[in-house]
């Protein structure tokens, strides 16, 4: 044994001596990496030095000092109070909130609509299935920007002015100023009902624990879903009724050339939302369809043979497997929707990119502005991919 290892050591030393350094793969790898880093470094240095020189010549100040100066431009719509005397930082924050608003609502509606169309695509009804297929194909093949322009044009060109607004449901008006609808006025009872909802959720969580324990001990099942649904709806409603069931609606009325009262969604917001939702839901539908088809029929049959009910099969066997296929591409579509919401700049909805663009035009701080845009979107996407990694780890197939 000892003799053999000595021999092999000798061979190794001999080889190391005989291989010239330019044929040694390890040394070559190090050399190559240094070369790549050098090239990248030189390019970055070259661009950076040019930029600094140009900025110096054009007398553009650098840095983020401009954020504390007054923005002096109005923002069409804002979830928080904002006026033109506020700082650029606040204006950008309002933009980010607007991006979050349209993305969040968009994602919720897209997932619902996409799931619906994905299931329709698999329907045994020929007409429904073909209609869903047509929707998916057509919506995927038209650029989302064109769809935004189209819906925006419908709003400001083809809808009537407020005086002749279309009213599909009583109190809801559709006109070239957007959608105007009644708003619920605040009443303390709503606050109590919301508190009750929170308490109910904790109660259901405890109930679920108890039900599982009991099932493990005695084998008796508990109709958890039905009971918790009844609790979630029942308790807050009971609280609301206990306070006299107040309903105070702020109904919009036409006064002069515009509506007063109620709440409204601007045409820009509606066009952006419609375009994003209709475009993205076509992709979501395809994902949902693929996910459902990925669970083989045998899974259904095996679970039914074990004596599970239809609802249990869906909840315990089919959905967990389908979701493993659906969720990763679905999150990437949600991210796409968020990134595509940056096209708001083209139709004048004040999202982050739009506000940043105005800031760039006013201050000339192009580098900082574009860097901020990238930073905000990178934050969105990195946090999403962090969530994705966590989720993938959680649902990964545990194999032998």
């Amino acid at each position: 044994m000892i003799a053999v290892s000595k021999q092999s050591i000798e061979i190794e030393t001999v080889r190391e001596e005989s291989v010239p350094f330019w044929l040694d793969t390890k040394k070559r790898a190090i050399f190559f990496q240094i070369l790549v880093l050098l090239i990248v470094g030189v390019i970055v240095w070259y661009l950076a030095s040019n930029t600094i020189e140009n900025l110096h010549k054009q007398k553009i100040a650098t840095g983020f000092g401009f954020l504390h100066k007054p923005a002096s431009f109005e923002i069409g719509e804002s979830p928080i109070p904002y006026s033109s005397s506020d700082t650029y930082a606040k204006a950008l924050f309002v933009g980010a909130l607007n991006t979050l608003k349209v993305s969040f609502i968009g994602i919720v509606v897209t997932v619902i609509l996409g799931t619906f169309i994905g299931i329709a695509r698999l329907s045994s009804n020929w007409l429904v299935s073909k209609l869903a297929a047509t929707y998916i194909e057509v919506m995927q093949d038209i650029p989302v920007l064109l769809q935004l322009f189209f819906w925006y044009a419908i709003f400001y060109e083809n809808l009537p002015p407020p005086r002749h607004a279309i009213s599909p449901i009583k109190g809801v008006y559709l006109c070239n100023r957007g959608i105007i609808f009644p708003r619920l006025e605040y009443h303390p009872a709503y606050g109590y009902a919301l508190t009750m909802l929170g308490i109910t959720c904790i109660g259901i969580w405890l109930l679920r624990k108890w039900a599982r324990k009991r099932q493990e001990a005695t084998g008796k099942t508990f109709p958890l879903f039905r009971v918790s649904l009844a609790m979630v709806i029942g308790f807050p409603v009971a609280v609301w009724i206990a306070f006299g069931a107040p309903i105070m609606m702020d109904v919009p009325k036409i006064r002069g050339f515009n509506f007063t009262g109620g709440a409204s969604l601007s045409p820009e917001f509606m066009a952006l939302l419609l375009g994003l939702v209709l475009y993205t839901s076509a992709f979501v539908a395809e994902i949902v369809r693929a996910g459902i088809q990925s669970v083989s029929k045998g899974q259904w049959e095996a679970a039914l043979a074990l004596g599970l009910s239809h609802a249990q099969v869906l909840r315990l066997v089919v959905l967990p497997q389908a979701l493993r296929v659906i969720v990763p591409p679905l999150t990437s579509q949600m991210l796409n929707l968020t990134k595509n919401s940056s096209l708001a700049v083209a139709i004048g909805y004040p999202d982050f990119v739009s506000v940043a663009n105005t800031t760039i035009n006013q201050t000339g701080q192009a580098i900082e502005g574009v860097a901020l845009i990238m930073l905000v979107y990178l934050t969105f996407s990195l946090s999403t991919s962090a969530f994705m990694n966590w989720y993938n780890k959680k649902v990964k197939l545990v194999e032998r």
Binding site: A29, F32, Q33, I34, V36, L37, V40, L47, N50, T51, E53, N54, L55, K57, S123, S124, N125, W126, L127, V128, L131, E137, V138, Q140, D141, I142, P143, V144, L145, L146, Q147, F149, F150, A153, I154, E157, N158, K339, N340, S342, L343, V345, A346, V353, N357, I360, A366, I367, G369, V370, I373, M374, Y377, L378, F380, S381, L382, S385
Partner: protein, 358 residues
């Protein structure tokens, strides 16, 4: 069943009534859905047909359009040359037309897989040269046309075709870099890919149009089209890299080992063994990246390049033609749909062929 008894085919496969029963009225729910759907189709399709065809105007001057209830397709027919070719000199517009026809011809020719060989590369080389000469001019007695005048559909096609051809090799290199064992190369590739995929294309276009001039030494300017083109290339490359990575990961380890035991080096292993297999697997997803790139070129509108969307909007901002956005955008939607649909059909066909071979 008795021997010799005639077995009739199931009704559902033969008669119209059988087909209807099987596909539209199989259950109560399906019957209900069919009736609801038919009702809504009845409510929407006939009015649309009436608007688009029966009441529409096709070749009238704009004043005539104001008096009709239907669609005013005249906004397209009267301005078709500006929408398609933009600011390209009017009497020279046959040149972008021929260039586009050459491109379509090449694309159509390249559809069949048995034509994918060395000769095809030569054809593309010749074709692209002809297109460049037609667009740019300056030789063979063609008057020179500045690239700032390139607009409309040729610009859209130019941005997408060159975007993809330049992004493809860059994407393959990035994918190989990401799979590399060298930490520096790997980290650089990952940072690039994730950075680009994390931000919207519009931020890169802004970068190209506003910041890029600052990167260059004084006195050197690059045309706006080229700057947008660079942004699109950098963007698409990151997506292609991810698609190619999927293909690389699908290649079994045995292929690398077999190549190594034959004495092939890294470059030979990749070029002769791994990439030919990996790139073949990822043809369908590559086509969907191509489709996305084609659709994404419309974003150059935001940095004021005159692609086919912007030329259409220019027409719509003309007071004579104001208010006919619906018709114009529907026309553009059909244009984009035809492009994307033919690409996705080709991709599906290729997918089927490749699946059979495996």
């Amino acid at each position: 069943m008795e021997k010799g008894a005639e077995v009739k085919p199931p009704i559902s496969d033969t008669t119209i009534a059988g087909w209807l029963k099987k596909n539209l009225f199989s259950t109560k729910l399906n019957s209900f859905l069919t009736i609801i759907t038919l009702y809504y189709l009845w409510k929407t399709i006939p009015p649309f047909v009436k608007w688009a065809f029966l009441d529409s105007a096709w070749f009238t001057p704009p004043q005539m359009c104001r008096n009709i209830d239907g669609a005013c397709w005249s906004v397209i027919t009267k301005n078709i040359r500006f929408i398609l070719f933009g600011f390209f000199p009017y009497d020279q517009q046959w040149r972008p037309l021929v260039a586009m026809l050459v491109l379509f011809g090449l694309l159509y020719y390249s559809k069949e897989r048995h034509r994918w060989n060395r000769r095809l590369i030569y054809y593309w080389g010749v074709g692209l040269t002809i297109m460049a000469i037609l667009m740019k001019g300056g030789i063979f007695g063609l008057t020179s046309v500045e690239s700032t005048k390139w607009s409309g559909l040729p610009l859209t096609l130019l941005l997408s075709v060159f975007g993809l051809t330049a992004a493809y090799p860059l994407g393959v290199i990035l994918a190989l870099g990401r799979q590399s064992k060298m930490p520096a190369v790997k980290v650089l590739s990952i940072v690039y890919i994730e950075l680009i995929r994390g931000v919207p294309l519009i931020s890169l276009l802004f970068m190209g149009s506003i910041i890029f001039p600052l990167f260059l030494p004084e006195g050197i300017t690059i045309s706006k089209i080229l700057r947008a083109q660079v942004a699109i290339i950098l963007f698409t490359a990151a997506y292609i890299a991810e698609v190619v990575r999927g293909g690389l990961q699908a290649i079994p380890k045995g292929q690398y080992e077999a190549a190594a035991s034959l004495g092939l080096n890294y470059y030979q292993t990749m070029r002769l063994v791994v990439l030919p297999q990996a790139l073949k697997i990822v043809i369908p997803p590559t086509v969907s990246v191509l489709i996305s790139a084609f659709k994404d070129t419309s974003l150059v509108v935001i940095i004021a390049l005159y692609d086919v969307l912007k030329t259409t909007q220019t027409v719509l901002s003309d007071p004579h033609w104001m208010g006919f956005s619906r018709e114009a955008y529907i026309f553009l939607a059909i244009l984009y749909f035809l492009g994307c649909f033919s690409m996705s059909q080709t991709s599906r066909k290729l997918e089927r062929e490749l699946n059979i071979e495996r």
